[in-house]
Amino acid sequence: MANLQPREESVDVVVIGAGAGGGVVAKELGEAGLQVVVLESGRRFAPEVDYPTDRTDFEIAAATVFEAEDPRRDVHTTAHPFDYVRAKGVGGSTLRYLAISPRFHESDFRTRSEDGVGDDWPLSYADLEPYYERVEQELGVSGPNGPDANPFESPRKVPFPTAPHPFNLASRVIRRGADKLGLHLVREPVAIPTSDWNGRPACINAGTCGLGCRIRAKSSIDVTYVPKAEATGRVEIRPSCTAREISLDGRGRAGAVIYHDDRGAEHEIRGRAIVIAGNAIETPRLLLLSRSSAFPDGLANSSGLVGKYFMEHLAVFSYGLFDERLDPWRGIPTGGMLQDYYATSRANDFARGWTTVVSTSSHWPLSVARRSAGWGAEHKARTKRLFGHFVGLASVGEQLPSLSNEVTLDPLLTDRFGVPVPRLVSAPRENDVAMVRAIAIRQAEILAAAGATETWGGEYSPGTSAHYLGTCRMGADPKTSVVNARGRAHDVQNLFVADGSVFVTGAGVNPALTISSLATRTAEGIVGAFTRREL
C-alpha cells in the first residue's frame, strides 16, 4: 500500500477483465445506465496494425502478438504437466479463439441426475436459452439450419443469425469418412459471420482466426461488445491494469479494487458492485489474495471451494495423411463438427462424452515444416509430402469435476508486482483417462474410413484446450458453492463472478458462448439489484 496513489474514485460497477464475461457485462450494464470501469490486465490491440497476417513471414510475426511483453506477467506453477494457454488484452481469450460457439446440451446442466457424476447446475438449459439467443445475435453466429442442422443440438427458438460456412476439400474428405460410419458431420456454429454484421465485414475465409482477425470479421469481444459498451459513454476500459486485491468496506461488503497500472503504481477504485471475470485461474487467485479478518481464507470463501474443482477440456488431436490434395488452409480453422459421441453411453466404461471438430488450423508452409523434426533432404521430402495433404480431428472431452484439481496460490513465486502466482493442480482422473482412450480410437476410425494412408496423434495434451473452468462454482447451497445461479457471491452480496469459473461441470463443447450467455444473465441480475436498491 506504500505506493498507493492519492486518487480516489468511485463508480457504480468495477469489472475486472474484458473478455467473454467481463466485456459482455460491461456493455449490458452501460446500456442499462450504470457507470462502469473495466480493469484489463492486457493491452488493447488494433487489428489492422497489430495482426500482420498479410506478410510473408506472418507465421512468425503474428504468432507472438499475444505473448506477454514482460514474461513475468504470466508466471505460474503446475503440479503436473499443464500448458497454460491464454491471451490477455481487451477481448481476453476471444482475441485468439477460433470462435467455435455451440450451445450446451440440456443434459449438461444435470449430469448428477442423469448420469450420477459431477453435479447439477442451479439452472436449466431453458433458463439460459434466451441469453444464448441474445449473444448469438450480438456475435452474428453462423450455423446450419433446417435439414443441415446438427441432429444432436439443443432446442433453439430462432435460426442462426448468419448462414453456415462452406466445407472446404479437407472437410469433405472427413465427411466422406463420417458418412461411411453413419456419423453426422455438420457445420459447427462459429462466431464468424458469413455476411456483413453490425458494421463489420463478412468473413473472407483467410483462416487466421487464431492469429487475430485483421479485418474484424471474427466476433471477438473487442470488436463486438466493447465498442458498444464504450458507445454508451458510461463504460471506461482501462488496459494494462491488473487487480491485486478486493478490499472490504465498513459493512463487510466488497468496497474497492486495488490494482497496478503498467508502471507498477497502485491505485484504488471503489464500486457499489464488483464483478470479477479474469478466467477460472485469475479469478480464484484474486479472491484468495483478498484476505481479511472476515475472510481469512480468501474473499467469498466460507465454503472453502474457491479454487476447487478446476476443470479443462480433454483436448485430443489426431491427424490423417491423404493421397489427394486438400489445401486445408482455405477457410476458417475448423471445418465441421460431430456430436455422435456426446451423450453418456452404457456401452462405455466412462460417463459423458465429447465433441469432435475437423481441424484445418495452421496448415501453412512453416507450420507444416515445423511438424517434423530434423533437417536436410529427408526433412524437405517429409514437408512436401505433408503439405496440403493432411487434416486433423480435434476433440474436446468433458473432464469431470474433481476436488483434487484446483487453483491455489504458490507459496514461493511471485509475479512482477510481487504478488503470489497461481499454482495449477490438474490431472486427468479415472473417467477422464477412459474417455481419452475412447476419443483416440474414434478419431482413428473416422480418419481410416475417410481414406487416410497414415494417421498419428491421439494423445491428450493437458492445458491445450485453453478452456479453463470451475473454481468458483455456482449453486443454491452456500456450503457447496461460491456463487448463486446469477453469479452473485453467497458471502458478499455486491460481489459477482462472470466467467468460466462459475461452471459446475464443463460439458463437452467450447465454452465461450456459454460464458457470455451466463454473463448476460448475471448483468441482468445486477441491473435488477440496482433497481431494487440492493446495491
Binding site: 497476417t53 488452409w329 512453416l366 515444416a369 533432404a377
Partner: protein
C-alpha cells in the same frame, strides 16, 4: 536475498527442489562459461571477430561467418533438381537481422560458429565450409547425436553422464556448436518456409490476408503467392543496438 529465498524454499520440499534445480542450472551455466573461456586462443579469436563486425542496422556477421552460415543453411535446406533450397533465396540477410536484434543469439552464434570451424580444423585441418559435403553432413549428424546424449536424463546415471559430457564439451569448445545447431536449424527453416520461393514449390497461395479465399474448394493458384505479400519491415536502429 538469495539466502532468504533459500530459507523460505527449504521449508517446502517441492520449492526446495525447484530452488536447487535452478541453482544447479545457474552454476552449470557459469562453470560452462569458465571452461569455455579457459582457452586463450578461443577468447582471442572471438575478440578478433568482434572487432571486425560490421556496424549498421541488421548487420552482424563477418565475412567468414557469412560463408559458414550459408554453407550450414544449404545443409539444412538443400536444393535438388526438382526443388529450391537455401541457395536459391536470400538467406543471410534475414538471419543476420535476427542475430543482430537478439543479445542471446549474438552469444550463441558468435561462439557456435567459432566452434564449427574449430571442430573442422581439429579433425580435418580446414574450415568447415571447405570440407566436402559428405564430411559436413557427417559432422552435423555427430552434433545431433551429441545433442541427444546431453539431453538424456532418463536415469540418475544418464543424468550424471550428461553432466560430465557437457563439461567435457564445454572445455573442448564444441558445446557451443552443439547448442547452436538446433537454433540454426530452426532459424533457417523459418526463413526458407516464409519465402515465396518455397511456397511456389509447395503449392501455397498465401499470405492469407488481405484477400482471403473466395472459393474454399479451389486448389492452389501458385501465381498469386509473391505479388500480394507485404514485405517484413526493415530493421530499425534500435533493433540492432
Amino acid at each position: 536475498m538469495a539466502q532468504l529465498t533459500f530459507l523460505r524454499a527449504a521449508k517446502n520440499p517441492r520449492t526446495a527442489a525447484l530452488f536447487a534445480k535452478e541453482t544447479a542450472k545457474a552454476g552449470l551455466d557459469r562453470l560452462g562459461v569458465i571452461l569455455w573461456s579457459s582457452s586463450q586462443a578461443r577468447r582471442g579469436e572471438l575478440a578478433r571477430r568482434d572487432r571486425l563486425r560490421a556496424a549498421g542496422p541488421g548487420r552482424w556477421f563477418i565475412d567468414e561467418e557469412r560463408r559458414l552460415v550459408r554453407t550450414l543453411a544449404e545443409l539444412i535446406v538443400p536444393a535438388s533438381d526438382e526443388s529450391p533450397g537455401a541457395q536459391d533465396i536470400e538467406i543471410i540477410e534475414p538471419l543476420e537481422k535476427l542475430v543482430a536484434g537478439s543479445p542471446q543469439r549474438r552469444v550463441l552464434y558468435g561462439r557456435g560458429l567459432l566452434a564449427f570451424d574449430a571442430i573442422a580444423r581439429h579433425e580435418h585441418g580446414t574450415a568447415f565450409a571447405d570440407l566436402p559435403k559428405e564430411e559436413q553432413t557427417r559432422l552435423a549428424r555427430d552434433l545431433d547425436r551429441r545433442r541427444e546424449a546431453v539431453r538424456d536424463r532418463s536415469s540418475v546415471s544418464n543424468g550424471v553422464r550428461s553432466l560430465l559430457r557437457i563439461l567435457r564439451y564445454q572445455k573442448s569448445g564444441e558445446y557451443a556448436a552443439v547448442e547452436l545447431w538446433p537454433t540454426l536449424i530452426s532459424d533457417v527453416t523459418d526463413v526458407f518456409y516464409t519465402n515465396p520461393m518455397s511456397w511456389m514449390w509447395l503449392g501455397y497461395d498465401g499470405p492469407p490476408m488481405p484477400r482471403g479465399y473466395p472459393d474454399v474448394t479451389a486448389l492452389t493458384d501458385t501465381q498469386r503467392a509473391p505479388q500480394d505479400a507485404a514485405a517484413p519491415p526493415k530493421p530499425d536502429v534500435a533493433e540492432s543496438a
